[in-house]
C-alpha cells in the first residue's frame, strides 16, 4: 500500500471516529451523562476478553457483540447499584466500571495465552494499523474493516436522530414532560446508550478505551459554548471534531506521537481557546 493510501485511511478513520463520538457526545453531554461514556468505554475490555474466552474465536462479529453487551451492562449496572440518597449515580458509575475493568485486566492477565490483548491498544488504540485489517466481499477488496463499521455506525446514528429527533430531544431537555406526553424516557435513553456502546466499541481499536471519552465530550462541550440549539450543537461539534482531527494529525506527525492522543489534545486546546474567547467576549460585553 502506498504511503498516501495509508495516511488517507488513517485520516478517514479518525474523521469518522470524531463524527460518531461527537454525535452521541452532544446528547450525552446534554443529558449530563458524560461520565457514563467513560464507564462504557472501559467496559469494552471485559467484553472483548469474555468474547475471546467463551467463544474462543476472534471473529469480529463475536467481539463486537460481546463488547457492546458488556458496555451496555456497565451502564445499567451503574444505574442498578445506586440507592436514592445513599449512593448517587456518579458513585454507581465509579463502582460498576472499575469493577468490570478490574475483572477484564485480571482475566486478560491469567489467560494471557488465550487472550493476548495489548495494553497499549486499550490505552490509545492503534489507528496506524487500521488500514491493514481489510475486508473482502465476493473477492473484491473493499478497504479497512474499521472504515466500514464506523461509516455504518454513523449512517445508523444519523438515521436514528433524523427519524426520532423529537423524542431524543425531549428526553434530553425535559424528561418529565416527555414522560407526561407518553414518550418513554427509559426507551430513548436505552437507544442512546446502545448507540454510545456501538460507537465506543467500533472506535476501540482506533483510539482505545480512554481517549474516546475525549472525542465524546470535548467537541460537544466546545459546541455548547457557541450554540443554543440541538442541531446547532451537533453541527458545531462535527466542525470542532474535524478541526481537532486535522490539527491533531498534523501535530502527531510533527512530534512523532500517538495520533489519537494528539487528536484529543488538539480537541482540548480548541475547547480551551473557545472557552477563553467566549469569556473575553462576555467580559467586554459586560464592561460596555
Amino acid at each position: 500500500m502506498s504511503q498516501f493510501w495509508l495516511e488517507f485511511w488513517v485520516v478517514i478513520t479518525a474523521v469518522l471516529v470524531g463524527l460518531n463520538a461527537s454525535t452521541v457526545g452532544s446528547f450525552l453531554v446534554l443529558q449530563r451523562n458524560a461520565m457514563l461514556a467513560d464507564a462504557m468505554s472501559h467496559a469494552v475490555l471485559l467484553g472483548l476478553v469474555l468474547a475471546v474466552l467463551f467463544v474462543g474465536s476472534r471473529e469480529p462479529t463475536f467481539l463486537f457483540v460481546g463488547a457492546t453487551a458488556v458496555s451496555l451492562l456497565t451502564a445499567y449496572l451503574a444505574l442498578a447499584v445506586q440507592r436514592r440518597g445513599l449512593i448517587r449515580e456518579d458513585a454507581g458509575i465509579g463502582i460498576s466500571f472499575t469493577s468490570l475493568f478490574a475483572l477484564g485486566v485480571f482475566l486478560a492477565a491469567i489467560f494471557s495465552r488465550e487472550v493476548d490483548i495489548d495494553p497499549d491498544c486499550i490505552l490509545y488504540g492503534e489507528i496506524i494499523f487500521i488500514p491493514f485489517d481489510r475486508v473482502e466481499w465476493l473477492g473484491v477488496e473493499l478497504g479497512p474493516r474499521a472504515f466500514w463499521s464506523l461509516l455504518l455506525t454513523f449512517v445508523v446514528s444519523l438515521m436514528v436522530i433524523l427519524f426520532c429527533y423529537r423524542q431524543l430531544k425531549l428526553t434530553c431537555f425535559d424528561p418529565l414532560f416527555s414522560q407526561s406526553i407518553g414518550v418513554s424516557v427509559e426507551w430513548w435513553k436505552f437507544v442512546l446508550l446502545l448507540l454510545t456502546a456501538v460507537v465506543v466499541v467500533v472506535s476501540f481499536r482506533a483510539v482505545g478505551a480512554i481517549l474516546i471519552l475525549g472525542l465524546i465530550v470535548l467537541p460537544a462541550n466546545t459546541a455548547l459554548q457557541l450554540s443554543r440549539t440541538l442541531p446547532g450543537t451537533i453541527f458545531w461539534s462535527w466542525a470542532f471534531a474535524l478541526i481537532a482531527v486535522a490539527l491533531g494529525y498534523l501535530g502527531a506527525g510533527l512530534a512523532d506521537a500517538s495520533v489519537s492522543a494528539s487528536i484529543v489534545l488538539a480537541s482540548a486546546l480548541v475547547f480551551a481557546a473557545v472557552l477563553i474567547f467566549r469569556g473575553a467576549i462576555a467580559q467586554r460585553a459586560s464592561r460596555s
Binding site: A34, R88, I95, S99, V105, L213, Q225, A257, A261, S267
Partner: protein, 427 residues
C-alpha cells in the same frame, strides 16, 4: 507461612493494607460531598506529570516522578473547580474533559518518549496498571507516614470535618474555612493517589476511593462509622488482593485489590441489614403476607358481625372479597391455620378461633378508629375514609391506637358508617 519471609511480600502486603485504609478514609469525604468520580479524573491527571518529570530530569527517582504527578494532579483538580465555577460546563462534563485532556497529554508525551527509543522509559507505562512487585521500602515508609498523618488529622478535627462535609455553607457561616479544607483534602487525595499508583495503577486507583466508602455507606447511617468502616473495608480489600495475587499465578495485584473491594460492596449491597436488597425483599414479603392474613381474618370477622354469629366461609369467597387470587389466599390460610387463628370446619370452609377473633377485632378496631379520626379531625367525607383505613389498619400499633383515642373528644362507640367499634381487649 513461608511466603511472609520474603521481604518484598511484606512490603506489598502492608502497603496494600495501608493504601486501602488511606483511600477508604479519604474517599468517605468525597462520597458524601458527592464528588465520588473526582478521584478518577485526578488520578488520570497524574500521567502527564510523571512523563514530564521524567523528560525534564531524566531521572527515575520516585520522588521526582511523584512530585511531577502531584503537580499535575493538583492542576487537574484545580481545572475541574475552575470549569465548574467560571464556565457553563456541567459538572459531569467538567470531570470528563479534565480526565480526557490530561490523559491525552500524558499519552502524547509518553509516545514521544517511546518514539525516541529511550531505554529508561520502561516502567512508566506500568503506572497505568500498577506493578505491586515494584513496591519498595521507601514507598512503604511514605505510605505509612501519609496514612498515619491522615488518620491523626481525621480524628483530631473530626467534628469540623463533619460539619464541612455535610453543610459547607453552614460551616462557612460559623467561621470554618471551607476553602482551606477543600485545598487540604485535594492535597491529601492527590498525595494518596500518587502514592497508590505503583500499586494499583492510574486507571483503577479511583475504585479504592469509591467502592469501600460506598460499601460502608450501605452498612451504616453514622458518619463516624462510615469513615471507620470505609478504612477497614479498604484495608481488608488491600490485604485480600495482595494475598490472592500471591497465590494465583500471573494475577496482577491492583485488579485483585479492586475486585476484593467490589466483592465487599456486592455483599453489602445484597445483605446489609438496613439497606441491603435481600433484607428489604424479605421485609416486603413479610409485610405483604401479614396484610394478606389480616385481610382474611377481617373478612371472616365482618361476615360474622353481619350475621351475628360465628360463620365458616369457603376460601373462594374470602379470596373474592379481598380481591386476591385463590392460591395466595390458600397459602396465607394455611399459615393462619397452623398458628391456630382459624380452623378448617370441613369442605374447605374456615372459621375464626378465639385467638383469631381477638386479632380480627383489634384490626377492625384500628380500622374504624381511624375512619372516625379522619372524619372528625381531618374533615374527610365518610365516603372517602374507608380506602385510607384499609391501608392504615395494618400499620397501627397499640401506642398509636391510644394516641388516636386521646385525640378524639370522647371514645367513640360507632364508626362513620354506624358500625360498632370493638372494645379494646385486655391482653
Amino acid at each position: 507461612m513461608s511466603f511472609l519471609t520474603e521481604p518484598n511480600v511484606v512490603w506489598v502486603l502492608s502497603g496494600s493494607a495501608l493504601i486501602g485504609v488511606l483511600l477508604g478514609v479519604l474517599g468517605s469525604f468525597l462520597l458524601l460531598r458527592r464528588e465520588a468520580l473526582l478521584g478518577d479524573a485526578i488520578a488520570h491527571a497524574a500521567l502527564p506529570g510523571v512523563v514530564l518529570a521524567f523528560m525534564i530530569t531524566a531521572s527515575r527517582h520516585p520522588f521526582v516522578l511523584m512530585g511531577g504527578a502531584l503537580v499535575t494532579c493538583l492542576l487537574g483538580n484545580w481545572s475541574v473547580s475552575l470549569l465548574r465555577r467560571w464556565s457553563s460546563v456541567r459538572s459531569d462534563s467538567a470531570l470528563a474533559i479534565v480526565l480526557a485532556s490530561f490523559f491525552a497529554a500524558g499519552i502524547f508525551l509518553l509516545t514521544i518518549l517511546q518514539g525516541l527509543g529511550s531505554a529508561q522509559q520502561s516502567g512508566l507505562d506500568q503506572l497505568l496498571f500498577g506493578q505491586a512487585a515494584g513496591l519498595k521500602r521507601s514507598d512503604f515508609q511514605f505510605i505509612l507516614f501519609l496514612t498515619i498523618a491522615t488518620l491523626l488529622i481525621t480524628v483530631l478535627v473530626f467534628e469540623r470535618l463533619k460539619v464541612i462535609t455535610f453543610d459547607s455553607s453552614f460551616a462557612a457561616s460559623i467561621g470554618l474555612s471551607v476553602f482551606s479544607f477543600e485545598l487540604f483534602l485535594s492535597l491529601l487525595v492527590g498525595l494518596a493517589l500518587v502514592l497508590s499508583l505503583q500499586l494499583v495503577g492510574i486507571i483503577l486507583v479511583a475504585a479504592m476511593l469509591i467502592i469501600p466508602p460506598a460499601s460502608a455507606r450501605l452498612l451504616t447511617d453514622r458518619f463516624s462509622r462510615l469513615v471507620a468502616g470505609a478504612g477497614l473495608i479498604g484495608g481488608a480489600a488491600g490485604v485480600c488482593g495482595a494475598l490472592l495475587s500471591w497465590f494465583i499465578t500471573d494475577a496482577p495485584t491492583g485488579p485483585l485489590i479492586v475486585l476484593s473491594a467490589s466483592t465487599a460492596f456486592l455483599a453489602a449491597f445484597l445483605l446489609s441489614p438496613r439497606h441491603g436488597t435481600l433484607p428489604a425483599f424479605l421485609r416486603r414479603r413479610r409485610l405483604k403476607r401479614n396484610i394478606r392474613e389480616e385481610n382474611i381474618l377481617r373478612a371472616l370477622y365482618l361476615q360474622a358481625e353481619e350475621e351475628d354469629r360465628r360463620r365458616a366461609l369457603p376460601l373462594s369467597l374470602i379470596a373474592a372479597r379481598i380481591g386476591l387470587p385463590l392460591r395466595s389466599v390458600q397459602r396465607a390460610a394455611d399459615d393462619l391455620k397452623s398458628r391456630g387463628e382459624i380452623v378448617d370446619s370441613g369442605f374447605h370452609e374456615y372459621e375464626l378461633t378465639e385467638t383469631g377473633e381477638r386479632r380480627a377485632k383489634e384490626i377492625t378496631r384500628y380500622h374504624r378508629l381511624w375512619e372516625t379520626y379522619l372524619l372528625q379531625e381531618a374533615a374527610i367525607p365518610p365516603s372517602h375514609v374507608h380506602a385510607d383505613a384499609e391501608d392504615i389498619e395494618h400499620f397501627l400499633t397499640p401506642e398509636l391506637e391510644m394516641e388516636l383515642v386521646r385525640r378524639l373528644p370522647r371514645e367513640p362507640e360507632r364508626d362513620p358508617h354506624g358500625k360498632v367499634i370493638p372494645e379494646k381487649e385486655d391482653s
